[in-house]
């Protein structure tokens, strides 16, 4: 078979794009490390078959391996890495890097569309500063959105979808990707020079409450105009600010004190039981941990309540994630969100994009467009927030 004189640096670049070590890549390709090293050192050129194998196993285009030079790092999606990765510095594994590239494709396509049809991207997001009073900023944002506490209390089903719809109604695109563990990342926020707000959440976050918290945490990054990937372990000013913002947004001070008083009886207590924390959490749609931290933050509990509860919880086993059967269109709608799907369909109907563009942006074949559109319309009817 014909050998192709590729630039060996491009082969090494493609491997690093996917976050693979030489050994991992060789294993994926089913070849000895030395053989792969030979190709990357330019000792010999790969055959067409070898190149196609590399493209398939690295999940990168065949044509990308034919480039005369690697792409520059500056052509990547830029975001600040706030992850702590258990305090050892964050890691970019192959799955996460590939997902980031997929996100880049989506954001690029949307930016392209925005240039052609700006009215589809209308949004009036305020800007906040990390030096502002976080509690005031969060509660002001609730008020600006017209998000009433009574709504929050009443929601009992599809709660994440309702919060997502609320954020999407602000003009934010919210995606949920099942990539990596929550140890790797929980959320990603992008609001760069293209001025389109994107939030991407880790769908492997099992608990709805935690996912809601992540959503608001990332929303805060958008309001701060700080592109970020985070695991929400509190470290540094920005992450701490976003965690506090999410807490005050989801548990406004006045209402939180009232509910805490109602749950605990006449006087606030030193010892909060799990049942009490759970009862408060259920009202605000947050986890017990978020409640524990917020109680301490508002001086309604000792500072070490959260630490104590974490120590106790280590003795219990975590509940299994309920793996109900999710329909195909439901899955797509969960992943892309109503805003993304609606914008693509409106652009298609307006003749700004064609079926192929829409297919690329939705990853759904044109013959299934109508069913996806029905699913989204159904969602917007059920828990749409002024979209």
């Amino acid at each position: 078979m014909t050998d192709v004189p590729v630039n060996p640096k491009v082969l090494a670049w493609a491997r690093s794009e996917r976050g693979l070590t030489l050994a991992e890549a060789a294993e994926k390709l089913g070849v000895p490390i030395d053989e792969l090293k030979e190709l990357e050192d330019g000792v010999r050129h790969p055959s067409v078959g070898e190149l196609r194998n590399i493209a398939a196993k690295y999940e990168i285009g065949f044509s990308s391996l034919l480039m005369p030079e690697p792409l520059l790092e500056t052509t990547r999606l830029r975001c600040q890495d706030f992850r702590t990765h258990r305090g050892e510095g964050a890691d970019w594994n192959a799955e996460l890097l590939a997902a980031l590239d997929d996100i880049n494709v989506v954001t690029d396509a949307m930016a392209d569309l925005k240039q052609a049809v700006p009215h589809l991207f209308a949004s009036n997001l305020p800007t906040i500063s990390a030096s502002s009073n976080v509690a005031d900023a969060a509660e002001r944002e609730r008020e600006r959105m017209g998000f009433r506490i009574s709504n929050q209390y009443l929601w009992d089903k599809y709660v994440f979808r309702r919060f997502r719809s609320l954020i999407e109604a602000q003009g934010v695109f919210v995606y949920v990707l099942n990539v990596g563990s929550t140890e790797d990342w929980r959320g990603l926020a992008i609001m760069d020079e293209r001025q389109i707000p994107f939030i991407i959440l880790n769908g492997n976050e099992a608990e709805t409450e935690a996912r809601i918290f992540s959503l608001i945490h990332e929303y805060c990054h958008i309001l701060l105009r700080v592109n970020a990937i985070s695991d929400q372990r509190q470290r540094g000013t920005i992450e701490g600010f976003c965690n506090s913002f999410a807490a005050y947004f989801l548990m406004p001070r006045k209402e939180f004190r009232a509910v805490a008083r109602e749950v605990s009886g006449a006087n606030f207590k030193e010892d909060w039981t799990d049942t009490e924390l759970r009862a408060i959490g259920a009202r605000f749609k947050v986890s017990m941990s978020a409640v524990a931290i917020h109680l301490s933050r508002l001086d309604l509990a000792p500072d070490d309540l959260f630490r104590k509860k974490v120590a106790e919880s280590r003795l219990r086993t975590l509940p299994e994630r309920s793996g109900g059967i999710v329909g195909y269109y439901d899955q797509i709608a969960n992943r892309l969100g109503s805003r993304h799907v609606s914008v693509v369909f409106r652009a298609l109907e307006g003749g700004y994009i064609d079926q192929l563009d829409a297919y690329e942006m939705l990853d759904v074949k044109p013959e299934n467009f109508q069913r996806l559109q029905s699913e989204i319309a159904e969602r917007q009817r059920a828990y749409g927030w002024g979209q």
Partner: protein, 165 residues
């Protein structure tokens, strides 16, 4: 003009533009004839994209062996690589799914360089109107390839036909 035949390399976007066009039947009639005459080709990557649009795919399937052309020359690969590098956003160089645009442009540029006096023209539609650095048309221009849309190509090839406005 170069004096040779004008041959066309058709992108998936143009194939799917035929569906629902006011002159759909007339277009298909002439396209079928041009394919039989060997005047229209597409790289396999464009064909793969057409597979996502069932109506056009069903019609084109009968002609597949006539118009889908695979080139395996090293020089062609290198040209496709250059297009990918220079227009990496258009080509989706970091993507998991391969796009066809770079192959369409690369094929036209390669054939123009190697099969004179024939002139290879890219046929593509583009829905997004801005950001020129991402477009096939701009990539064609950079590689010295002429580019038209499907309807314009047919009107030019069959000027006596009663095409709708």
């Amino acid at each position: 003009m170069d004096g040779g035949n004008r041959l066309y390399i058709v992108d998936a976007s143009s194939w799917i533009s035929v569906e629902g066009h006011p002159a759909q039947n007339l277009m298909l009639f002439h396209l079928g004839k041009m394919i039989e005459d060997g005047r229209i080709i597409s790289p396999p990557e464009a064909w793969d994209e057409v597979e996502n649009c069932p109506w056009v795919h069903a019609w084109l399937k009968q002609h597949r062996n006539l118009f889908v052309q695979r080139i395996t020359d090293v020089e062609y690969f290198q040209l496709v690589g250059r297009v990918t590098h220079q227009f990496h956003v258009m080509a989706g160089a970091r993507r998991r799914k391969e796009r066809a645009d770079q192959y369409v442009v690369g094929m036209a540029a390669y054939l123009n360089a190697t099969s004179n006096p024939n002139r290879h023209v890219v046929v593509c539609e583009e829905s997004h109107t801005k950001r020129p650095n991402r477009k096939i048309r701009t990539a064609c221009q950079a590689f010295g390839v002429e580019c038209v849309d499907m309807f314009t190509m047919l009107k030019k090839e069959f000027p006596d036909e009663a095409w709708p406005d």
